[in-house]
Amino acid sequence: MADSTDLPRLTAADLAAKLTAGEVSSVEATQAHLDRIAAVDSRIHSFLHVNTEEALAAAADVDTRRAAGEELAPLAGVPIAVKDVVVTKGQPTTAGSKILQGWIPPYDATLVERLRAAGMPILGKTNMDEFAMGSSTEHSAYGPTRNPWDTDRIPGGSGGGSAAAVAAYEAPLAIGTDTGGSIRQPAAVTGTVGVKPTYGGVSRYGLIALASSLDQAGPCSRTVLDSALLHDVIGGHDPRDSTSLPEVPPSYTEAARKGADGDLAGVRVGVVTQLGGQGYQAGVSAAFAASLEELRAAGAEIVEVSCPSFDAALAAYYLILPSEASSNLAKFDGMRFGLRVEPADGPVTAERVMAATRGAGFGPEVKRRIILGTYALSAGYYDAYYGSAQKVRTLIQRDFAAAFEQADVLVSPTAPSTAFPFGEKVDDPLAMYLNDVATIPANLAGVPGLSLPNGLSDGLPAGFQILAPARADERLYRVGAALEARLDQANGGPLLARAPEIEVKA
């Protein structure tokens, strides 16, 4: 039997193999991760809620079923962390907001049902920017998550909790959601892997909506293969989500295993001119260039592609997102669930309770975006703002379509910079929004994207983004796994192994 303190260091695939072989039980594995959380999370703060009892019960159930000889899913018994924007029956779900403090959802998101059905114990709920608005977790109402590489720096956002949990070995896998980069950018700055699937590839039923036309849940992990394994669990059609893709997805695990042989002969890789160069940290650009060389060495053909409309992506995104968010967040009014605040003086009317609740319950970034969106949708402004933004979106989709004529996948740095120190951008929304400049186009077009760690810049990890056409997520896994294999070989192991040890409580 393995030393239980080593269990959290295993990848999900390796842990699954040990579980299948009977070398370790799910209860042991789950307990080992709970112990790790207990040891480091006071420092990292990945979790808003730790689900000890339920996780151990789920683990025990899997162990019983395995002992009885039952056929189990590949990841059965492997524990997982879930971003707090995903509803979990009987477990608190706050979306990082005070307005949902104490709310216990009466139902499970579809993807949570699928995790449970696959026998994956849920360790807890991870921290995030309030309602997924942010790139640093500094907008969480419950305090920020710290980057395991440097606890004075941000872990990215909005899904900083999920990325940090995986990077800090608190969980082998986590669920994130990505509206403009909230899976990929945290993955980049924490040295982990994150995937935003094709829009509609993973059900949104039970995701607390930020921007419905952009939101997509996906896997967070330490390896490309682990993300593929998790993607295979949570993906596929859901009749409860009208925007869910109807077709049966291929095996992403297979694609990742195929890619791991490091051979990309005949694969055309397009470098997007607009997603690099000026505004990108030198170390980030250097790591990117080195990765291109690895791809070329793997046999890939590197081509330059131009997507001119991407220059307008950020502007369009910050009209579409707030517009949809202003409507999606209207339901948080103190009438049916969550926080309810009565006005300090004057009559207690429904309208005044709604106003008081929203005034007290929402943080400044949420209010900023609700006001932006309300304005953009107003009569007389709709065409100029929301209407124009939708046109830009169409142009971006056309740019992608043209680019994918020339290349099988597109690549760029995931984020312009490595993790920045706390406080550096929190009061400068525009600087904060620029973190997502390379990730946003994928959301606007609905195409899938993956980020994997590809080097260090001044001792902090950088991310490499791969984009594929809609419904061709398997290309992300093949190319991602190939690059990962070559980088690991070149670096003598995974990048994350070079992260400093977190001070562990005795």
Partner: protein, 496 residues
């Protein structure tokens, strides 16, 4: 006190223009966007799911049956059916709207550009142009608890979300012009015709008293049919045919008075008051009301295939106006008789009674006479009066076969209504069959004639005047079971 202009006076100087918005609740098994039952009269907040409560994370999915019903309505109203259309969010904060937006259709309705030919009281046909019919979801229901029972002065309010998410179709007319003094009647006849169509299509129970069908009536006046449209008011939630007629009438009189006084009509919503048939000011419509419509991103556009639309069209039932014309001809009723039948809600039961073998005149006689009275006494619909069309037909067959006379038939009906069984069973149980064996009857006749020798003599001498006395006495002695015609024949035989 609001000044009014006499209605006839008002319409002699102003041309009324109407616009009517009718909401109908569809009778689907589940709600518009989730699988909560779309039922009526349940315990509050039991017909709900995370979707109809608007819980965080919940997503809508379009109810295909509701789409089919909306298309049925669109086709029955001679509308175009959109090849592709979208839902939109209508954003406004109100506690009975769980998401604080209503999912509706805005610039892309499922059906548009239609018309309905409405039959007025005198049989004249008036064409109402339809602008659009679109799908949306209903809101929940607020109950204000306190001394007043209204929002103002309430101690607290309760919300029941059972109704939230029930599918609605809203049908909007183009401006209805040319109705003149008959505007109130046109409004009433239009909504009544819609109600009948909803029922015929099987898309809704369309019960006005339950709010299944709700009408908002827009009224404006202009100086002449050539003048531009005047400012309109919208009287909300007028929920009976009579009220619709009265609301229009009142608004015409009120607006005429405003215009006569040199004032201008305020564009506003108004409330209708049943008790005195007046309307009162609601809220002023202004530009401040901005619903920030935008396409619902949680739902993909709807694209009903042309094949499906053709299939729905082929399956449409005969529409009420066509059916009435056909039945009136088949039954040989006068226009007036037919209207009475329709107004009494007796069309279906008469049709079923005729189908079960009774003649149309007899069927009408039963349902519009004895049974209409009983239904009224019991305060129920004709269909629920306690006797089926098949039983009425069986009863009439007894009459037609001469087994009971009219008087006995009414007693048989009484028995059926009292739950004593089928007409045949009642006849047997109560021993009501007409005596057709002449033997016992002759004994009674002989005895009667013997009792009244002077009358017998008069009849024998050819004076048939007192015949009624003898027949009456015989009928009395047989407790009405004798056939009066046969008694007469036998008396004549006996007295040569």
């Amino acid at each position: 006190m609001t000044t009014l202009v006499d209605y006839d006076e008002a319409v002699s100087r102003f041309d009324p223009v109407l616009g009517i918005e009718v909401h109908v609740e569809l009778g689907t098994a589940t709600k518009m966007f989730d699988d909560a039952p779309a039922s009526f009269g349940e315990q509050p907040n039991t017909s709900v799911t995370p979707v109809s409560l608007g819980l965080p994370g919940a997503l809508p999915v379009v109810n295909g049956k509701a789409v089919e019903y909306a298309i049925r309505i669109g086709l029955a109203l001679n509308c175009q059916i959109a090849e592709t259309c979208r839902f939109a969010r209508k954003n406004y904060f109100y506690p009975d709207v769980p998401k604080n937006f209503q999912t509706s259709q805005y610039d892309e309705p499922i059906a548009y550009e239609g018309y309905l030919d409405v039959e007025l009281d005198d049989g004249e046909i008036f064409r109402v142009e339809i602008e659009r019919a679109h799908m949306e979801e209903d809101a929940g229901k607020n109950t204000h608890v306190g001394a007043t029972g209204r929002l103002q002065g309430a101690d607290y309010s309760l919300v029941d979300y059972n109704r939230a998410g029930i599918p609605l179709v809203e049908i909007v007319t183009k401006p209805i012009t040319g109705a003149g003094e008959r505007a109130p009647e046109v409004a009433r006849a239009y909504v009544s015709a819609l109600r009948d169509i909803f029922r015929a299509l099987g898309v809704s129970e369309a019960r006005m008293e339950r709010g299944n069908v709700r009408a908002d009536v827009n009224v404006s006046l202009r100086s002449s049919p050539d003048a531009p449209l005047g400012t309109r008011t919208e009287t909300k939630n007028v929920n009976s045919f009579r009220s619709i007629e009265r609301a229009v009438r009142y608004e015409v009189s009120r607006q005429a008075a405003v215009l006569d006084g040199g004032g201008s009509v305020l564009q506003e919503t108004r409330h209708f008051h049943e008790e005195d048939a007046t309307t009162s000011s609601g809220r002023v419509k202004s530009d401040a009301e901005d619903y920030r419509y935008f396409p619902e991103p949680d739902l993909v556009p709807l694209a009903p295939s042309r094949e499906w639309v053709a299939e729905i069209r082929a399956g449409l039932p005969e529409l009420p106006a066509v059916r009435r014309r056909r039945l009136r001809q088949e039954w040989g009723y006068s226009e007036e008789e037919m209207r009475d039948v329709i107004n009494a809600g007796a069309l279906e039961v008469i049709e079923a009674t005729v189908a079960a073998g009774a003649g149309a005149p007899a069927a009408r006689k039963w349902w519009m006479g004895e049974l209409a009275r009983t239904a009224k006494e019991r305060g129920v619909e004709l269909a629920e009066v306690g006797v089926t069309p098949a039983q009425v037909a069986a009863l009439q067959a007894l009459v037609d076969d001469g087994r009971v006379n009219d008087k006995l038939a009414r007693q048989v009906l009484e028995g059926v209504l009292a739950g004593e069984g089928s007409p045949e069973e009642v006849v047997t149980a109560r021993g009501l069959e007409v005596v057709s064996d002449d033997g016992p009857l002759l004994q009674v006749i002989d005895a009667t004639l013997a009792d009244q020798p002077d009358i017998a003599e008069k009849i024998r001498s050819g004076n048939l005047g007192p015949m009624g006395v003898i027949i009456g006495a015989v009928m009395k002695a047989t407790r009405g079971q004798a056939d009066a015609g046969r008694v007469r024949e036998l008396v004549m035989e006996r007295l040569g």
